[in-house]
């Protein structure tokens, strides 16, 4: 009986350690130590075997001490298995940010890296975005299409680490993951260099270049998505940088250091990829969301009529309306409110919805949520907190896209695409396939719906209102011959006297195919150029895809 009980204790200890090692990969060191402590107690109890009473005290105590030491060695073994093998990869690639902002990473990831045939990165048409060439026994990284830097990132093993996809897909590109595990172990045993896996992106390099050309001297971002799949076709950020100048073969490259310093010192922040990391006030482009929520809640229809005589008194603050095309008219439908971007109409819609319900819809549209993506995405917000929206003026401001609301261009493009996709917000993705050194596809992206904030009917209403805004409203500049285009502009007051110019929209033939979000930062471009950039990108994308198909 007692033997069976001790056996159970030992089994429990083994089970506990195995569970700690293998089941939950995100287990913290402190928790793991707790598990080991518990397992050790079980081992101590399980090894308390009965000793013959005839044995001298000394022999009994020595045997007991030996058993205790045995349990300690077992625990040490478990710890070594965890650090060296089970968690080995995670620890090897672990990074931390020091208080001064410097990133700490395993120096080995850099020092061995010129021995690795790092995987190439291709655009959707097979154009090489990041290349690896063997020169004098070292694998050198180069970027034939620097316009894609805001997606691909830089790779600077001796100086600045990596960014963008170069960082996010470090394991695959360096061959540490994604390859056949047997090949990997064999290569590591024989000290042969690993061959990295290649990435094929959904990005279109020529459209990406076109986007940067269109942005020209303006600071800002352009994101183009495939409405039905969530593929990111363009994600441009201007100004950008040349990743070729950051790749070095040693830590003592004065030119690279000077270039890096110039990027850091540049007030236009070229290293910040605005598409996924830039947070902006969305301005009137957010009106589509306000209208959509009101329709979804049954509070309004596109033809619901609102009073707008040029001003609205909200708790003593007078909101002035400048956008009415006809100063003599006082009655406007919701659709006209969207088409002419009437702040007074949307403020009333927002007050109809109320702060509580507007806040409730935030997460459904992805505000305050982590957008699943191949690159990190800054988190959008409706307001700093739920209580802010209980103030009527703050609520009205939020309803037409002012106040504390903050979005990324990627998120706005996802919202535009969602209206044209029956209310389904797709997970955006950049990496279509990961192909290992043997040519085996180890990962294939599949379109997935992330959120469904509104019903297909509601989405359709908003879609039609956006098409109406282009055909009959203030967004006429977005029209493209032969296609159905819907859109919404926005002018976001930044508080320092300048404005961000926004355009979100979609294009179809006539089925909606691509959505766009354009933002031009404070004062660096007018509203009309945001609209024309958006139109050119939508038309350019749909034409490029047609040519590809034919």
């Amino acid at each position: 009986m007692q033997n069976a009980f001790r056996g159970l204790l030992l089994l429990a200890a083994a089970g506990l350690i195995s569970w700690g090692l293998f089941s939950s990969d995100g287990i913290s060191d402190a928790r793991w130590l707790g598990i080991l402590g518990l397992a050790w107690l079980l081992l101590l109890l399980g090894t308390r075997i009965p000793l013959a009473p005839t044995l001298p005290t000394f022999n009994r105590t020595i045997i007991r001490t030996g058993l205790v030491l045995t349990t300690v060695f077992v625990i040490v073994t478990a710890q070594l298995v965890r650090i060296q093998v089970v968690e080995g990869d995670n620890i090897y690639y672990k990074t931390a940010t020091a208080p001064d902002g410097e990133i700490i990473a395993n120096p080995r990831t850099a020092s061995g890296d010129l021995d690795v045939a790092r995987g190439r990165i291709y655009d959707r048409n097979g154009v090489v975005l990041a290349d690896t060439q063997l020169v004098d026994g070292q694998y050198l990284r180069s970027y034939p299409e620097p316009a894609s830097a805001c997606v691909v990132g830089y790779y600077s093993p001796f100086l600045y680490g990596a960014s963008g996809l170069e960082l996010a897909y470090e394991k695959e590109l360096s061959g540490a993951a994604g390859n056949n595990p047997i090949t990997r172990v064999l290569k590591s045993l024989l000290h042969r260099p690993q061959t990295g896996a290649d990435l094929s992106l959904t990005l279109d390099a020529s459209l990406q270049g076109q986007a940067l050309d269109l942005l020209g001297g303006s600071r800002g971002s352009v994101v183009v998505l495939d409405i039905r799949t969530g593929e990111v076709v363009v994600m441009a950020s201007n100004p950008t940088y040349d990743p070729n100048q950051l790749f070095t073969t040693s830590a003592n490259d004065a030119a690279a250091k000077a270039y890096w310093q110039s990027l850091i010192d540049d007030p236009a922040a070229p290293l910040v990829t605005r598409g996924n990391l830039g947070l902006y006030t969305p301005g009137s482009t957010f009106k589509t969301v306000t209208a959509g929520i009101a329709i979804e809640e049954g509070l309004a229809k596109p033809d619901s009529v609102y009073e707008d005589n040029g001003q609205l008194d909200i708790d003593g603050r007078v909101l002035v309306e400048n956008n009415r095309p006809d100063e003599a008219r006082d009655q406007w439908t919701l659709a006209e409110g969207i088409a002419w971007s009437l702040n007074v109409v949307l403020a009333q819609v927002g007050l109809q919805i109320g702060g509580t319900d507007l806040w409730k819809y935030g997460p459904r549209f992805g505000f305050g949520e982590d957008i699943p993506f191949d690159l990190p995405v800054a988190e959008s917000q409706l307001a700093n907190g739920r209580e802010v929206l209980s103030n009527k003026n703050a609520l009205a401001d939020t309803a037409f896209g002012q106040g504390q609301i903050q979005v990324t261009p990627l998120h706005m493009a996802m919202i535009a695409a969602m209206w044209a996709n029956d209310g389904r917000m797709m997970e955006p993705y950049l990496v279509d396939t990961v192909t290992d050194a043997d040519g085996t596809v180890t990962r294939q992206a599949a379109p997935a719906t992330w959120k469904t904030p509104v019903s297909p009917q509601t989405a359709n209403d908003v879609e039609q209102m956006m098409i109406n805004a282009v055909q009959n409203g203030s967004v006429s500049g977005a029209a493209a011959d032969g296609y159905v285009v819907g859109g919404k502009t926005g002018t976001a007051e930044t508080g320092d006297g300048t404005n961000h110019s926004w355009f979100i929209g979609f294009i179809g033939d006539p089925e909606p195919r691509y959505a766009v979000a354009v933002v031009l930062e404070g004062g660096s471009g007018g509203l009309s150029s945001a609209v024309s950039i958006g139109r050119d990108m939508l038309a350019g994308t749909i034409q490029a895809r047609r040519e590809e198909a034919s």
């Binding site: 130590l33 000394f58 009994r60 105590t61 073994t77 710890q79 298995v81 620890i91 000290h191």
Partner: protein
């Protein structure tokens, strides 16, 4: 009887087992040289160190046989294997270390010197302990050992050199010694002798009225030892040695008395003292933080631990191979963190092999203790084996972040003269004791 014990013999098991560390020394050093030069280009002169080492251990084995020594045949091969790993690691780290700082220029040469001295000490202890009646005077002068222990600790406090906030060293002319390594041995000798004398008394109870108390007067010297351990902790800030002394102290007390209550009380008071020290000194608080989460300050206080984690993780199952890793990213890798360097270059298989060697070594020592006829020899063998076990566990546990890290050497492997010579002496004593008359 005497004639039988001195009849020459050939220690075949030992000799054959010693071929393993001998071959390891030669192959390992060849690999280090070839990897370092990037070409298969070597001469016999390059590996004279390994040839000399292999020759030395085989000579020791043969000379033991000629002397008619009939002790344990496994201890020496295990010790030699561990020592070879240490020697190879230092040879491998030496060029990288020398490039980091001038102070490391002679590390490999010094290590070889200490290793040679260690082997000589082991040989002398085995050869001369019998004729010199070493066991007798070790037993007899127990209070001398106690005084030596206390005096060494006090001397460290007064004239010790502070390194990284802890007083670990005494400088005597050109020689730097680490007193804790010597204290470890004198402490075991004193405890073995004292506990053997008072074994029955300490195991008994002391009746005060209806209360049954431990025999307090006989525990007084124990209390002094306990205080000395705490002094090591508080005054010298040497948590590693304090843990080691305290572990030895409690284990021997338990082995001699069979009473777990001593262990319980001892652990409790030590934990309380640690807690007090933790609240009093920020250094200990930092140490605990670096144990649980070195990533909170990965640049300054947690730097070594973070780099050690990286090294162990990069080793994986098989390791990078000698000379192919980057263990010198860890500061002081050749002393406190040599185990991480083994983990990086020899992988999990290497680290498990190392701890298995220590385990067998300690269990072998316990077997010698159990077979011994004499009470003092029993306790001495058990105590010395325990000291090796605890020291190993403290430093490996610290490096692998099972317990807070403390600056203590890994026996036979870490760089450090005091540690190497003392530990070889311990193995010499264990070997000698294994040849003494056995219990029926």
């Amino acid at each position: 009887m005497m004639q039988a014990r001195y009849r020459p013999t050939f220690r075949a098991t030992e000799f054959n087992l010693l071929l393993i560390p001998g071959a390891l020394a030669i192959v390992g050093l060849l690999m280090i040289i070839v990897v370092g030069r990037g070409a298969v280009d070597w001469t016999w002169g390059d590996i004279w160190v390994s040839l000399a080492f292999a020759g030395a251990v085989l000579f020791i084995s043969v000379s033991f046989g000629i002397r008619g020594f009939r002790g344990d045949q496994v201890l020496l091969p295990i010790t030699a294997t561990l020592a070879v790993l240490g020697m190879l690691m230092i040879q491998r780290l030496h060029p990288d270390l020398a490039a980091i700082a001038d102070g490391y220029a002679m590390v490999a040469q010094r290590h070889l010197m200490y290793l040679a001295a260690g082997l000589v000490v082991l040989w002398l202890v085995v050869m001369l302990s019998g004729p010199l009646r070493v066991m007798n005077w070790l037993r007899k002068y127990k209070y001398t050992w106690l005084l030596a222990t206390l005096a060494l600790q006090a001397a460290t406090f007064v004239v010790g050199t502070e390194v990284y906030g802890a007083r670990l060293w005494i400088q005597i002319g050109p020689v730097q010694i680490q007193p804790s390594e010597i204290v470890k041995v004198t402490l075991v000798i004193f405890l073995a002798s004292y506990l053997d004398d008072k074994r029955d008394l300490i195991g008994s109870s002391w009746q005060v009225g209806r209360l049954s108390l431990p025999p307090i007067p006989y525990l007084l010297p124990m209390g002094i030892m306990w205080a000395a351990s705490l002094m090591t902790l508080v005054a010298l800030n040497d948590l590693g040695s304090a843990l080691l002394f305290f572990g030895i102290f409690l284990t021997m007390l338990y082995i001699a008395s069979g009473r777990l209550i001593y262990v319980g009380v001892g652990l409790f008071t030590f934990a309380a003292a640690c807690w007090a020290a933790w609240t009093a000194f920020s250094r200990i608080e930092i140490r605990v933080q670096n144990w649980i989460d070195p990533w909170r300050d990965p640049y300054v206080t947690g730097y070594q631990q973070v780099q050690s984690d990286y090294a162990l993780a990069s080793g994986g199952l098989f390791g990078t191979g000698f000379g192919l890793g980057h263990p010198t990213f860890i500061p002081e890798v050749h002393t406190d963190f040599v185990f991480s360097a083994i983990g990086e270059e020899l992988g999990l298989l290497g680290t498990l092999a190392v701890i298995a060697l220590y385990f067998v070594l300690v269990m072998r020592g316990y077997a010698i203790a159990m077979r011994a006829e004499d009470g003092f020899v029993q306790l001495l063998a058990a105590g010395l084996s325990t000291s090796l076990a605890i020291q190993t566990i403290i430093i490996i546990g610290g490096v692998t972040r099972l317990i807070p890290l403390t600056g203590i050497t890994l026996p036979f492997i870490s760089y450090g003269g005091s540690s190497l010579i003392t530990n070889f002496g311990i193995v010499g004593l264990l070997l000698f004791m294994s040849s003494l008359p056995r219990r029926a």
